[in-house]
Subunit: 886 residues, 2 copies
């Protein structure tokens, strides 16, 4: 066997770049040590040691213990103290430190190295027996809890008993004698609970603590955190063993945490808290109210200047806003930790911009400093999660934004109240086109069934209203006008609040955080626009939404869904008349009435987007979506039958039911929809094409520049597109002749079925553009019905890491991505100038946008409120993968 691996580093042996090996904390301590800051000496045990431990049935890798001892000798020599030395004992803190910040893992153990002997040494050294005993009892309590798994409560009971006996309220008021007795009782608690003596061997204490840190890598909280934050399970954690310094050594000592800039606003002022004569845990425990960091200036003027200077050094060194822990021991400043500071979106933007102005970072770096997903904070109202909240249900976060209002179970009633100026939340099992007028006036929509693509979700998103879907714990009794959830009964008129960005429902009114889009954001996005290669369009169905999208910087509309126009309340009867038509002339008549309405829709949208391309998708959903629900009809018919209803009425409803049934499908997602409607009912697409082209002609006559792109959905074979292209071109020709104007247009297709990807070369022969519909493409590639999967098994899949992410949130690069690449390759081979975009919801998600950039799409299209996110994410992708694009 060769030499053992190096598992232990002195702080001075590491550096910032060794984060993977030493963890974030360890790398920070090493870096601070090496740039000459005052850091208590110590050592870091590597993540590799943790990985080896986990792979080796929880056994330390060979050589580890010896390496720790060897490095420890160096530290002891430097300080002139010795571990376990009763005269001059060395005490250490032991902390976990993973490569990425991970709350939920083992926290600090302070004062390790104390035992029945060394506690005396500490008392002598500090000339403070009370302090030494208090350190010891805290150490026993903390060590036994974290390392030996003794219930914390058992120690608290002892403490309470002594406090009662002494008739004092605070731990700090306990007498020396009490503390001495408490220490003895604590050791007895450990023996009773574990059958083991509390370890007096300081080396054993250390190794047990290291093992506990390693084990904490796989505790439930850590696993959950990694799952939620998509952190790989095989990184492992490092362990930092650092000499203790005591902020509680007297009034010339203290401890604090500080941010180099304000983490809420980004303002360039030190921000943090400080406590005189205290240890770090006192700040966290909140027993005493900390002072603001600036107050340190009065208390320790010299140290404060040194601290300010150190902060500057650290910010300049790391070229980013830092989150710093420090301690002052008898007037001497020690830096204990530094890391990149967590910050709000507003702060991230302001700090990045300021740093560019200060010459600290480049524009490119500034762009990479802001998490695109965080921008949501600036664009939607949110519930203030720091407030005390009573969550009563949770569903799918179907449309972001927060709302408060009185519960209403009925769209008509919602409309009445809403028009009367009241704020309502519409609560339904699911919504249908009949509920649209209720959704329009509601502050938000909450449904107990349905998924991210349910009617409620799609309509709410298109209106920019908060929506939560599939909140399954909610059981609605429409007749009694109440809903129950987890034993709580909410009546009509009761106030609830909801956050569509998180899926949470709360009882009563709760505090909100208002959106704060800023000038700074505008500046940042302007820089993003200069760098990104991907264009950004919006998915918008209405002129209002289109205008908003344009304000947000959309460079066109990538998806305008015409079915939402069909669902508008006053048009639905016409649409139903068209569907129920018994013959072609009845159908033509209904379509004839829809034509001017559609034409006006398109006119307004084209006008709002003057000078920019607008992709209009022809009718996509199956026709039964426009008809009443079969079950409702069935109940109604049964009721009429058993209550002597009029035979004529029964017959009419039965006839309607027959038609509904004839159109109903086992798997509507894979049914008679998309271009299949266009093929079987050519008159529907013909009407839509005519409406588009007549609107175009009208605008051209008015001198307006329009760039219409007609999109055929759900194509799986070139022949479909070829047929429908011919029909559409013929109508364009007719309109040009009738109107006496010329205009140009594109005809293309959604690529949203695996087969479309596989025969993309043949399809490209008939297409001017492709637009990936990654929602449906993911559904068919995985064989997942999104509406069914999300409420049922998908969460289990993500929880058990069978899938890293829901494929409906982040593009699945392995499967769906492979098909997309194939389609792009084949499509461009057949048609080199083919314009290719994406209009699935992935078009607004950073990771997916990065993939779209890498595979060479021309644009992404996303919902209006995600346009800024997409602009920034596209710029980041361009910065990270510059070589990938021409």
């Amino acid at each position: 066997m060769g030499e053992a691996k190096k598992y232990v580093y002195l702080f001075e042996e590491g550096k910032a770049e060794m984060k993977d090996l030493l963890g974030g904390k360890g790398a920070g301590l090493a870096e601070m040590t090496n740039i000459g800051l005052s850091v208590p000496p110590g050592l870091t045990i590597t993540t590799e040691a943790c990985i080896a431990y986990n792979l080796n049935q929880k056994q330390f890798p060979p050589g580890l213990e010896q390496q720790i001892q060897e490095k420890f000798l160096v530290v002891q020599e430097r300080l002139g103290k010795k571990f376990g030395d009763p005269q001059n004992p060395l005490l250490v803190s032991v902390r976990s430190g993973a490569p990425v910040s991970m709350p939920g893992m083992m926290d600090t153990i302070l004062n390790l190295g104390l035992n029945d002997e060394t506690v005396k040494g500490l008392a002598q050294q500090t000339n403070n027996e009370r302090f030494a005993l208090d350190c010891y009892r805290r150490f026993i309590q903390m060590f036994s809890d974290v390392v030996m798994k003794v219930e914390r409560d058992k120690f608290e009971q002892v403490l309470e008993r002594y406090k009662t006996r002494q008739a004092v309220k605070l731990d700090a008021d306990l007498s020396v004698e009490s503390l001495r007795l408490i220490v003895e009782e604590f050791k007895q608690v450990v023996l009773n609970a574990t059958g083991q003596e509390f370890p007096q061997d300081t080396q054993k204490q250390l190794m047990m603590a290291v093992q506990a840190v390693f084990d904490s890598w796989d505790n439930d909280k850590a696993i959950l955190y990694r799952r939620i934050n998509r952190i790989p399970d095989d990184l492992g954690t490092a362990v930092n063993v650092r000499c203790m310094v005591f902020g509680n050594s007297g009034n010339d000592s203290g401890t604090g945490v500080a941010f180099t800039r304000n983490p809420s606003t980004g303002e360039k002022t030190l921000y943090g808290e400080f406590l005189v004569n205290a240890q770090g845990e006192d700040v966290v425990a909140g027993i005493r109210t900390p002072q603001t960091i600036s107050s340190m200036q009065q208390e320790f003027p010299g140290v404060f200047d040194q601290f300010v200077h150190t902060c500057k050094i650290l910010e300049n060194h790391y070229r980013d806003m830092q989150d710093i822990e420090f301690t002052v021991e008898k007037g001497k400043l020690y830096m204990l930790q530094t890391r990149s500071a967590k910050r709000t979106a507003a702060a991230a933007i302001k700090a990045a911009l300021d740093m560019v102005n200060e010459g600290l970072i480049t524009r490119e770096e500034a762009l990479l400093r802001v998490d695109p997903a965080q921008l949501n904070q600036l664009l939607h109202r949110q519930i203030d999660q720091t407030a005390s909240l009573k969550e009563i249900a949770r569903g799918l976060p179907a449309s972001p934004g927060a709302a408060t209002g009185q519960v209403c179970f009925n769209a008509d009633e919602a409309e009445r109240l809403g028009k009367g100026g009241q704020k309502v939340i519409l609560v339904r099992n699911e919504t249908t086109p009949d509920d649209i007028h209720g959704i329009v006036v509601a502050q938000g929509v909450l449904t107990s069934r349905g998924g991210m693509t349910s009617h409620a979700a799609v309509v709410a998103r298109s209106m920019g209203k908060p929506c939560i879907c599939g909140a399954e714990s909610i059981s609605i009794d429409y007749a009694a006008k109440v809903f129950t959830t987890g034993g709580i009964v909410i009546k009509e008129g009761d106030i609830i609040s909801m956050d569509g960005g998180t899926g949470q429902v709360f009882e009563g009114e709760v505090p909100m955080v208002e959106p704060g889009a800023s000038q700074e954001l505008g500046q940042l996005l302007q820089w993003a626009d200069e760098i990104r290669v991907l264009k950004v369009r919006a998915n918008s169905d209405t002129p209002e939404d289109a205008k908003k999208a344009r304000e947000f910087g959309a460079e066109g509309i990538g998806l305008c869904r015409t079915e939402h126009m069909f669902m508008a309340q006053e048009r639905l009867p016409l649409v139903q008349q068209m569907i129920l038509a018994e013959n072609e002339s009845d159908r033509e008549a209904a379509l004839g009435q829809l034509l001017p309405v559609q034409q006006n829709d398109f006119y307004e949208i084209f006008k709002a987007m003057e000078g920019l391309p607008v992709t209009i998708r022809l009718l996509d959903p199956p026709l039964h979506e426009f008809l009443p629900n079969a079950e409702d009809l069935l109940v109604e018919i049964t009721r009429l039958k058993y209550t002597q209803g009029a035979a004529q009425e029964i017959a009419a409803k039965e006839k309607l039911l027959y038609k509904v049934r004839a159109l109903s499908e086992f798997n509507p997602m894979l049914g008679h929809r998309g271009c299949r409607l266009g093929i079987t009912f050519p008159e529907i697409y013909a009407m839509q094409a005519r409406a588009i082209f007549q609107a175009v002609a009208q605008l051209v006559k008015e001198g307006c520049k329009v760039f219409p792109e007609v999109e055929i959905p759900l194509v799986m074979d070139p022949e479909e597109l070829s047929l429908l292209r011919q029909q559409t071109e013929a109508i364009a020709q007719e309109v040009m002749q009738e109107q006496g104007v010329q205009f140009s247009y594109l005809i293309g297709t959604m690529i949203e079925l695996p087969r479309a990807c596989l025969v993309a070369d043949k399809i490209a022969e008939h297409a001017d553009f492709f637009s990936f519909g990654t929602n449906d493409l993911s559904q068919t590639t995985f064989g997942f019905s999104r509406d069914d999967a999300e409420g049922k098994f998908l969460s289990v899949y993500v929880e058990r890491k069978i899938l890293q992410d829901s494929p409906f949130v982040v593009i699945d690069r392995d499967g769906v991505g492979q098909l997309m690449k194939l389609a792009i390759e084949k499509g461009r081979a057949a048609h080199p100038h083919l314009e290719i975009g994406i209009c699935g919801e992935h078009g607004g998600e950073s990771n997916s946008i990065e993939f779209c950039h890498q595979v060479g799409l021309n644009y992404v299209s996303c919902s209006t409120y995600r346009v800024p996110i997409a602009r920034l994410a596209a710029a980041q992708a361009a910065l990270r993968y510059p070589q990938k694009r021409a």
Copy 2:
């Protein structure tokens, strides 16, 4: 410009191999001419001329008319007759002749060349004015109908008038004088109807006839025929212009058709019909009853011997059974046509075997002579399509076989009648697991809704019972116990017949053709087995079916679906109990009761297949398929509410409905099913694995050789298979230890989702075998729900040739096939000895089997009754693509 293309061939200039250019008929005439048989001289206009005509806006290609005239001169010289010569006129027949036989195209025009002058010449030549005039009036009638589109009826009216006037019944009894007047009136009819004189110019007659043949390529009947028989639209047709010979020249003349062997049985005897003193059309018209071909021996002994000899020459020459047309003119035999004879499956097999014995063809050729799909005739009872039938409805041919019985709308009633010895057809909108006992006793099942994968279809196929699904014209009124279809009312108890192989429903009892599997078939399949590379397995779910499959030559079971075991009537309550369990222990209890039942199922199936592999698929369908229907419950609850039902009963049903709803899905096909159940309810798959392995252990102890293959369905990611493989292996280990036996087994997966194909390399790391589930793979690749597509848009797609075939019948090589190839490549790269098969319905369809052979599968698995078809098709594939396989 170069020289004009050669568009016209004398018969002696062609040969058999020029079928594409000269059409089947033309190539046959050429070949017969060249091997020295007596064929009336003539010429063939090529298919290329037809194609050029169609591409050239229905204009003859340059040079065509001149070439016809030139070749015509040669023919005239040979006969010493001249076209249009009043003294010695040459008459010709003009017939279409495509490269593949195509009924529905233009039929023969006889006697072309007659006009007011030549008719006199014919009268003189034949010394029979009546004959000449009759030929002329027939010619006018035929030519005007076919070429000039004059309604046939108008001529019939004239004929009727003269027959009435003369008081005769038959055309043949019309006097010469009448015929002369009729000719004049016919010409007037043409003038009135078309504004044109009947053409007297014989050259013009000829060119008009040629054009009519070309045009008939695109008539509706021809287009329909090509669609049904999958004949490309761009082949074009040839035109044969042949000198007339007259079988109606007197009693030394005649005409006939004959097969060189019996086309029904294959027996080696001449088979056909013969009419003395008649023309071909008389045989077809059925005015006189033809004699059998053997009767010719008495009438024309010399000619008969010559004919028998000629038949032998032709069979030897073509090395296949021939279908021959001939005419005898004044004692001289003329061959008019020869082609490969259409034959029944039984005849095809017998003839092929006999020809091998006669040394005429090889075994390999014999194997290629039988259409595998035709074998269905030998394996299932069918309705005799030659009988006079009253079709009242048509649905999807969901399970082959024919049945007659009284209509019954209810499974309980069906069971009562069935057990009482009555034959019933169960007629339902759709069936559910509650109907199984009714299906068991029924002769056949007919449903008005649902597709080829509906409950009724799947269950009926597994039982080998006839089934028709989705017969949409049928409207059932359960209350009134009637169904109506196209205005016909069928009551409960009325007799209907059905053919599950064609999807036809008939009123009353109809004649059937019994299946006739023969020794000859056995011989042929034995040869097939020696040649094929693909193994053939069966999809069987019961021991009875497994035994049958083995008899049919199955080499294992490729798919045993365990859900059908769950659906058996006595088990369903246990399954429902398991699903409705409120906690894990209730669920375990129900599963505990299912375990021994499943174990016994597997025991029997393994035993029946001793020595052969058996692939058992773990539970696949979504759980709600085992529960009552939500609509039925809803109607029942509503009824109870409005009829003062017991509150307790209502509450219980509402609770059940709640559970049904909680489990119900928007798109069950893409929902919570397959291994997703195995992941979320591990105890279900654990029970099944235990049942399998306990059965294996039991059999091993009994000394029986079993080869179990456990199959995990609907895998889309390697992690799913990895998890479930671990669980299954652990159970196998447990059972081996508990039972004290060792056994081996394979664990593999269905490949039935696009993503599974895309990540097949990773999946293969955890799989011993892959089995392509091409039903679901086609559904997801196309985005087609089979149950929805088949009844709605798929027929339109096939009709308009957007798709050549339903992808559920023939594997779509462009899309699905591409994914399969990818999966095979990736799977074998990661795991070189991976066993790969197919168990979708394509495994029993010839074209798909050929593809499976080409891409290198190890086996195909198909429904039991298709095993012989698959064996033959696999042999044909091996003969056609020998180089493709190792």
